[in-house]
Symmetry: C2
Subunit: 522 residues, 2 copies
């Protein structure tokens, strides 16, 4: 009986997920190959699929089945069991899908869409005053949204804050207080390190980054690298779009995109490796597995157990391949000869050490998406602190530019020239993504902490990378991260895999070791 409730729940969810996977193809096609004149009808198609998915995800029958599963101790009695995790996550998804009243959902969509248009113009004109009232509107809506969700208790059972309710959409179980406790020491250590880098007289040359290489050759090299990483091109693709992304759209179907600039091949290379890191996670999720092995086994696809844990964990996978692997000395020892073979003579004059140094240049800047590993997290922390204060009401929208600019001066030592290159640079707030930014830094921190464990467990990982052998690394990630799907919360997975709660220490040690060696620091 109980098992039949779980089975029906999974069947309904799988049908919604199959419809969702069709929506993903519509989106992918829109970004890649759709003729421009098809845009209006594509919006109709997307709206229809979204409505069909929403109808299935929010049906009262789902709610009844979840309640029935929750009260069945054979499913949830052992909170560590896969069935208990599945029921827990079905509940979370159902609450996210149903707790917001229809008029709020509509207002979020409408106001977000208007605010985004205003943001575009304000950014172009570098006119924050124009955007401020819309930021206020979006914050008011975000507060209403958080109150509808309800503020979750922190892991220590202490009452949280509104921000946590929003964070829960992207990073389930994480709290603002917890972020604070991790970010504060990180910020202090980074400040000191950035100052040391600035003072160094042993700066790398960026010449290897400005050679000219045809996009078509870059494409062949990119495919060569992701194939070596273990990304299965029979179950995926690599195409070109304006904004790179990874869509793990369906079992056996994970599609990556990248973009090429003839005059800076590392942009596409690291973009591709980044998306392929996401892609390996998607390919490693148990989308073709089952719960149970007998005749009544339940396929996992369409259930939370075949989904990724959180944005932070997803980002840890992309950043690991992009940075910990791709910007390592060992990587270039392997990759440079292949890069020369595939992309021609432009790199003939450089050594692996030249490439390694060039791709680890650290330089404070105004723009988050162009930031290096040493400074990137500072950009994120500025945003986290500001959006948290905006949500709580401690900060008024009109005061954002002053606070933003002061923090950039404090944390990165730079003078923000204008709001276009300052607090108007990111699209996120304009459509109400509050609580999203911190997951970028969480990704970097998880990646380094996992890497420390990997170095312990795969003793010769650097020598393997220098030979282009990524098999053991991929297998480790498959086994320790990917195969679990969403069974564990990120914090629990981290403890289980690394033996410690998440901390900034491994990241700082990694950064000081690598970037420090480039700049001759200590």
């Amino acid at each position: 009986m109980a098992h039949s409730a779980l089975k029906e729940l999974c069947d309904l969810s799988r049908s919604a997920a199959t419809l969702g996977s069709i929506g993903s193809l519509l989106s992918w096609d829109q970004e890649t190959y759709m003729p421009p004149a098809a845009a209006a009808h594509r919006a109709e198609q997307q709206a229809m699929m979204a409505a069909l998915v929403h109808e299935r995800r929010t049906s009262p029958r789902i709610g009844d089945l979840i309640a029935s599963c929750e009260s069945d101790r054979s499913l949830t009695g052992d909170p560590a069991s896969p069935t208990a995790a599945m029921v827990r996550e079905f509940r979370r998804e159902y609450d996210l899908a149903t707790k917001l009243p229809g008029d709020l959902v509509a207002e979020l969509a409408r106001t977000g869409s208007q605010a985004q248009e205003v943001w575009k113009e304000a950014r172009q004109k570098s006119d924050f005053a124009m955007f401020a009232p819309w930021l206020e509107k979006m914050m008011a809506l975000a507060r209403r949204k958080a109150d509808c969700y309800g503020i979750p208790k922190g892991p220590d059972a202490k009452p949280g804050e509104r921000y946590d309710a929003l964070l829960n959409e992207y990073e389930p179980g994480m709290t603002a207080r917890e972020l604070d406790s991790i970010f504060t020491p990180l910020r202090q250590r980074l400040s000191a390190f950035i100052a040391q880098v600035a003072a160094s007289t042993n700066k790398p040359s960026t010449a290897p980054l400005s050679v000219r290489i045809d996009a078509s050759r870059q494409h062949v090299f990119g495919q060569f690298v992701i194939d070596a990483m273990g990304f299965d091109l029979k179950a995926g693709r690599l195409d070109v779009t304006t904004h790179p992304f990874c869509s793990g759209m369906a079992p056996g179907d994970t599609r990556l995109t990248t973009r090429y600039r003839d005059e800076k091949f590392t942009d596409a290379l690291y973009g591709t490796m980044h998306e392929a890191g996401h892609g390996l996670y998607e390919q490693g999720l148990p989308k073709q597995g089952t719960l149970g092995t007998n005749g009544s086994a339940i396929p996992l696809f369409g259930t939370p157990l075949s989904e990724s844990i959180s944005l932070g964990i997803h980002e840890s996978q992309s950043r690991m391949w992009e940075n910990l692997v791709g910007r390592s000395r060992a990587f270039w020892e392997w990759a440079l000869p292949h890069a020369r073979r595939i992309m021609g003579d432009a790199l003939a004059a450089f050594t692996a050490e030249d490439l390694f140094r060039a791709v680890n240049t650290a330089q404070p800047s105004f723009i988050r998406v162009e930031a290096d590993e040493a400074t990137y997290n500072m950009h994120v922390m500025v945003r986290f602190e500001i959006e948290r204060a905006l949500l709580s009401g401690d900060l008024q929208p009109r005061d954002v530019p002053a606070v933003w600019n002061r923090k950039y001066k404090d944390y990165l030592g730079v003078d923000v020239p204008d709001d276009r290159r300052g607090c108007l640079q990111d699209v996120h707030w304009s459509f109400g993504l509050i609580g999203y930014f911190p997951t970028y830094t969480l990704g970097n921190l998880y990646a380094s902490q996992f890497w420390q464990t990997i170095q312990g467990q795969i003793g010769d990982i650097d020598r393997q990378i220098a030979r282009g052998e990524f098999k053991d690394l991929k297998a480790w990630l498959n086994r320790n991260i990917h195969a679990h799907g969403r069974r564990y919360r990120a914090a629990d997975l981290c403890k289980m895999v690394t033996g410690s709660p998440l901390s900034a220490e491994p990241f700082i040690a990694y950064l000081e070791g690598k970037v420090g060696s480039v700049y001759g620091i200590k």
Copy 2:
């Protein structure tokens, strides 16, 4: 009230059509870019979309609304009105979708799928006996299907035959008796002409067809040609697949595919022009128009008025561009310099006249899909005669090879070497497509008859083509054929546009004129 019934009917139909357009994208993606490992899940996605479309197309509400529209004389009182045509075609579609009982639909799908597998093996082994029992099964199912649809009355109100009920799926309003009356003189005239060609001593050289040209250059040339034809590449695409097709999948979205052989560039060129002919029809259909112009105007997309008339008319559009335009002397006068410019030196030694003669080589063969214009329709007539006799029971499946081979000898003068290259060559019968083949020949005949009218109305059409000007031709097709959607039956459109009922005469005159000139036959 009546108007509100029609509006609701159109709304329901548009929602089914939007879902159908998503299914078309799934199919297109499957043939073009889908990673192989995604095939199993793609089948799930397709099944789900097909079920959603079927549910909407067969809902009893649709039946009620059609009945209500039919009895409303303000809609159907004038049978020549657009609303009457719309209601008539809604009725036809609803009957096609609902008259077959579920168990028959399932058995057709299941048996067709099995028969297709058997056919593949039988063809490979050239073993017709293996396939014969399955052909019998499919014919029995086709008879049941025809009886469920009911045998339509011919235009002369005489009772028709079962075959007509199946023909109605592909060529509404056409009957076997009508086909007979057109095909019989065609066959006789073609026989005589084919014999004259065989006896000619003035045979063209096929040397221009066997030059070697890179697929990538062929692709650029193909795009150049279809752009000149007026195919809108902002509302469409050209990609590569194993089997070329055209999918007019949505408003603003018509996608063509082709395939390239380095050693025979005309295969891709004519394949591309053929599909672009279909594509121009799809782009010319009134998918973005409305019925009425006031506030309550009904969008045509999703209604039969924005759909093509029949397979025969669709094929007339592809064959016109492929053959009447593309294999004309004037076409090569324009195209050859561009072909040389885009595809390099391989064609340097040939004149436009060389190309014109080479692409009009006529030579009896065994294989339909490789046949030239002079012999192609003979292949079709063999199939029509055999499938008609199979359906009526006048011919037993086991006797098909003997009859097939005798007809090939009679009509084309060739000895079929084995069943693989004989009666097992086509896939159609294995999944129950009975009544489909004649539409290929109808396409050729309609194309020629339209062309005769076009020559009368665009006096300098040949000179326009020789200058690469296709604007007037495209506008003529848009106005006279495409813009009507499915408002008229094919036979009525033909009479309306050309002033005469469909006849084989224009085709024969065209063939004798063109191919006759190549072979020096008066």
